[in-house]
Symmetry: C2
Subunit: 344 residues, 2 copies
């Protein structure tokens, strides 16, 4: 897992370079279609959440996340003739995603696959594939395949909204991924902190909300402790009632953008309730408002997710080691995930 | 809270009767618009999740849940000229929902408000309001306002897809709400079970997924313990790795429909991992597969959520009493929720 964390900059760079050559095709495919619908699960779903915000914020394209069961279990007739359906699966063989893509096509959608495996069922059946260039990933927890999905999603947004000027920022994001792949000052302190707690909440909002969910998922599946990922808003609407001095809250933020002020204020509220607060990213302002901090990238909010997850992954990997667990092969998980076991 | 739980059948019946008179207007408003977008938070968001499945399954209308921050923080220009935006808020004065509705209108959407308060800002600014008929709700945890929102959402689905024949089933749902408002055999046993555990996961899928999330939210905010609501699929994709004998899993299901077989199988898997399993609904088949069960309604899956939440609420209310907590006014919550405190 550690080695694959370090390979992410190169994998993302290759994915971006490969994807940008398909921009013209992507534009043609999207022509006259006003909606984008992502289909994904797990880490791929967290990449799709980033895509959802990016396409709406930068492209003004109404974008949603599909409920795959609408396709696989209810087999509903939904008119998708004005929609591009983007299916995201590392292996390209998760059956419900493959099935949902076939359903989308039958209902009139144009289909884009984002997968790491050429010749996989998802690739074969798509109108167009953005192939991530992560190479073989050996560790079960997705790292470089996840960030390559983020890169592919950003290429898609760039193709559908060239005015957003994402291309240059993506080059900078790759540099920050490389820089952050060496564990910095805050990582060890974060591991010390998280090793001593059993009630962890990870929160974020907007473009980095998917990053917060990905940190939570990785912490949980790799370190085998219950960890909740919650949006800033959902946390405020109820669950904040149970925050007390037993809770460690991880606040995930970009170092700029319209979400930062609210996250800084949330840090103060959580500390007032007795929680221990750990900033992941958010620049100096959020670091000052929290008990501990792990520095993130110096990037525009729009491309921050590609690099902000890197120190998060380093924390997860080191924490698993500290807990005596095998980060590369967590208990109870396999590389190709299937939602419905009877389909295996 | 207990009294308001018992008032739900009458409140839903009045909401349905009131709403059905607006079907023609709703159809006119939706004419030529191919998408529905819900805007909501908290319990209202759980009602919107039901609406999302119902509209896609019964109506074939592509439906999504908005990320309110796209409106309130990013102020993105998203083309909504082919969309009906449905904003759900009990009080009708949650600022981010009111603001998101104004944004939707400015971006070309037709707007429908679902609120319990006539003359509220949300009502005033909407093209059309489905007014829930719950009367004043005194307890902080939403019960009759939540189920009235479900009723209003079902009326909307009925108006946009008259072929689905929801009207008759809604009458039956009201009868089941009344029948289930008297605590049955399983409630006390469920309270015994939940009082002795600190690791609770609530899971469901498809049309009752929102019900599972609502049970989780109510358990957490009323009984002040960490409770996770997870879809069946998200549970299988990672967090299932941490399920062991410390965990109590609540499985929420309708007594029929395409999700039931998977839930029965999940119950077996969770028990194999050592978890204690509690069925909420799901009929005899799920009850047999679980350690304990609380009977749910005898209804088609499409209208099950209106009545299935009722025994769930009874469990929550009784559990709070057992824990010595005030179910009517949980610590740290207020009736009108605002996401961003600086806006109060």
């Amino acid at each position: 897992m550690r080695r694959e964390i370090a390979q992410q900059g190169a994998a993302a760079a290759a994915t971006i370079q490969h994807g940008l050559r398909q921009c013209e095709q992507l534009r043609r495919l999207g022509h006259g279609r006003r909606h984008v619908l992502f289909v994904a699960r797990g880490s791929s779903d967290n990449a799709a959440i980033y895509g959802r915000y990016l396409l709406e914020v930068c492209g003004g394209v109404q974008t949603a996340l599909a409920a795959p069961s609408i396709a696989t279990h209810y087999r509903a007739d939904v008119d998708l003739s004005d929609t591009v359906v983007v299916s995201v699966s590392q292996s390209g063989e998760t059956e419900e995603i493959v099935e949902a893509q076939a359903w989308a096509r039958a209902n009139g959608a144009a289909t884009v696959a984002i997968t790491n495996v050429a010749g996989s069922p998802l690739d074969d059946a798509a109108d167009l594939t953005l192939l991530t260039q992560a190479g073989v990933e050996r560790a079960v927890p997705a790292t470089k395949t996840y960030t390559s999905q983020l890169a592919a999603v950003a290429v898609l947004a760039s193709a559908l909204s060239p005015q957003a000027g994402l291309e240059n920022d993506l080059q900078r994001a790759v540099e920050e991924m490389d820089r952050l792949a060496s564990p910095g000052a805050g990582v060890r302190q974060a591991v010390d902190l998280l090793a001593g707690t059993n009630a962890v909440v990870v929160t974020g909002r907007g473009l980095v909300y998917g990053t917060a969910l990905e940190v939570a998922l990785k912490l949980e599946e790799t370190c085998l402790r219950p960890v909740r990922g919650l949006s800033y808003a959902d946390l405020r609407h109820g669950p904040i009632a149970i925050v007390d001095s037993d809770v460690t809250a991880v606040l995930v933020a970009a170092c700029e953008g319209p979400m930062l002020a609210g996250m800084v204020e949330l840090a103060g509220d959580l500390r007032q309730r007795g929680a221990t607060t750990l900033a992941l990213g958010g620049g100096g302002e959020l670091a000052d408002a929290c008990d501990h901090s792990v520095p993130g990238p110096d990037l525009p909010e729009t491309v921050t997710p590609l690099a902000l997850i890197v120190p998060g992954q380093l924390v997860v990997e080191a924490l698993a080691g500290r807990l005596g667990l095998d980060a590369d092969a967590p208990r109870g998980l396999s590389k190709v995930t299937q939602t419905d076991p009877e389909r295996r």
